[in-house]
């Protein structure tokens, strides 16, 4: 049980609906926060609109590949980001969802609660959400054993058997975390591991973790609750059942681009298409981080993208003057 203290410190400072901002940033993850830092340091009038501050990294137990921090909790790293942005007093609006955007002379951001904000340029940094497997039983047993946040729901599976689906870093990290709580963890992956060697090596030292590569999950089964999975061994071409009380899905992410799909060009994965300056197909609208078509979704990439978009947006605003 987590007896350590995870205090959120923020100096909220509301956004003004009457005003026209230079840059409004949608999203408060690494991309949005770094965009805010760079914009504010350029002396621009900037604000953040986001459902939360911190983004996906908050759901990550430990980050070991952000330069300068050999090992830090996801939340700890984001607190440092947020504290840094707070020093500059960037106003933000939290717990709201952006519904869509409209471009006229200015860009309007419409929220689900009916409010509208105006800006000369915007930076979209809405990141991504967990991808579902799309198999029978997944939806039915969602929240009845099928989970998408290992650090949130892991503690509920003490001394039970669980399965992690996926082969990337998130899946391996989830398996390592869960091995400390659950009786047994089975890591199932369709092909072979893509995770960093250093993580896989750590995983291999754990006694209660079993690894099943080349295995496809076909169905989640159970009665009132999930009881197990039907899987297929792709090499032996054999189907069998794995008993488990929980399935943690860590098979990648889908971009949160829905609110923008009507006016922005997206690729076949639904990612916002950007050029090397972070520009979208519409003048004054920039996009950064996991929501874009840039390869390799990582904290440092997203943060870098955020900086790039802020600098591009600054140049764009200068052309308006």
């Amino acid at each position: 049980m987590s007896l350590e203290i995870n205090l959120n410190v923020s100096n909220k400072n509301e956004l003004d609906m009457e005003k026209v901002y230079d840059i409004l940033i949608i999203g408060g993850g690494p991309a949005g926060l770094n965009a805010a830092l760079y914009s504010k340091r350029k002396g621009l009038d900037v604000g953040i609109i986001s459902y939360d501050l911190g983004g996906q990294v908050m759901d990550t137990s430990s980050v070991e590949n952000y330069l300068g921090f050999p090992s830090i909790s996801g939340e700890g790293l984001m607190k440092k980001f947020i504290d840094h942005v707070n020093i500059l007093n960037v106003p933000y609006l939290e717990y709201v969802h952006v519904k869509d955007i409209k471009k006229s002379d200015l860009i309007e951001i419409h929220l689900e609660d009916g409010n509208t904000f105006k800006s000369k340029s915007i930076i979209i940094a809405t990141g991504s959400k967990p991808r579902k497997i799309g198999i029978p039983g997944e939806l039915e047993y969602s929240n009845k054993g099928v989970c998408y946040c290992a650090i949130c729901d892991g503690p509920l599976f003490a001394d039970e058997e669980v399965v992690v689906a996926g082969g990337g870093n998130s899946a391996v990290e989830a398996a390592i975390d869960l091995s400390k709580i659950a009786k047994k963890v089975t890591l199932v992956h369709r092909s072979n591991f893509r995770a960093d060697k250093i993580l896989v090596d750590q995983l291999l030292t754990l006694d209660n973790v079993q690894i099943k590569p080349e295995t496809q999950i076909l169905e989640v089964i159970g009665d009132k609750f999930m009881k197990g999975l039907i899987v297929k061994d792709r090499l032996g071409n054999r189907e069998y059942t794995i008993e488990a009380a929980g399935l943690f899905v860590e098979i990648g992410y889908l971009p949160n681009s829905d609110p923008f799909k009507n006016i922005l060009a997206l690729n076949s994965k639904g990612e916002i298409i950007v050029d090397k300056y972070g520009r979208t197909n519409i003048d004054g609208i920039f996009a950064a981080g996991d929501v874009t078509d840039t390869p390799y979704k990582q904290i440092i990439m997203s943060a870098g993208d955020g900086a790039k978009c802020a600098l591009s947006a600054n140049e764009y605003i200068n052309t308006l003057k």
Partner: protein, 215 residues
């Protein structure tokens, strides 16, 4: 200090300086065996020392059974917040509010102290029409970053409407109860033991579920 280091203590003291009036924190525990009772007492002793607006009262669920009954306390550890006039505000924390849950604890303390947040007009309007008793349980884990948001909303609804009672329940400490309520993702919200949903959802979702009880 075991729980609060200097840095956190300073941040806390700054945040709690925003409290308006005093708040009475009643802590119900019991003799061993009791998971996290001792930790909860230690933690709250440290916490309360940060602000002179916090009055801590340590109670025992057996010897102070009458009080426990007044505030519907059935679990230990359980924390009840009373305003400066010792009015029961129908909100409780069952289990230690450390980890992420310290944030909902602070938010509810602020509210009970009189530093209240304003609900959007349409939400207030719908909330005022909740005319039947409602019990909201919010199951959480301490490592869940989305959970405090759900606890804060449930507590806020209870603070604004006398018919509503809202309890945070830490799912690991109250394992059997979590099993009974089939908790396998958090935050899980259960209304009148009948209607349930998962996730830090909006006030609208809380209200729609409660409105089902009115028809």
């Amino acid at each position: 200090m075991k729980y609060l280091n200097e840095e956190v203590k300073n941040q806390l003291s700054e945040i709690l300086s925003g409290m308006k009036d005093e708040v009475n924190i009643l802590v119900f525990t019991k003799e061993e065996p009791c998971e996290t009772c001792e930790e909860t007492r230690d933690f709250l002793n440290e916490f309360a020392s940060v602000s002179n607006k916090l009055n801590l009262e340590m109670l025992d669920i057996k010897t102070d059974a009458l009080k426990a009954n007044d505030y519907n306390v059935t679990l230990t550890p359980s924390i009840v917040l009373l305003d400066k006039e010792r009015n029961y505000k129908r909100i409780k924390f069952n289990g230690i509010p450390t980890g992420h849950e310290i944030n909902s604890f602070i938010s509810s303390l602020m509210e009970v102290s009189g530093n209240t947040s304003e609900l959007p007009a349409d939400i207030s309007e719908r909330l005022s029409k909740i005319s039947k008793p409602m019990n909201i349980k919010v199951f959480v884990t301490l490592s869940c970053p989305h959970c405090p948001g759900a606890v804060e909303k449930a507590h806020k609804l209870a603070l604004e409407n006398n018919n509503i009672e809202a309890d945070m329940i830490e799912a690991q400490t109250f394992y059997d109860l979590s099993e009974e309520y089939n908790v396998s993702s958090v935050p899980k919200i259960v209304i009148n033991d009948k209607h349930e949903f998962v996730g830090n959802q909006s006030f609208e979702v809380f209200l729609s579920e409660m409105e089902k009880e009115l028809v």
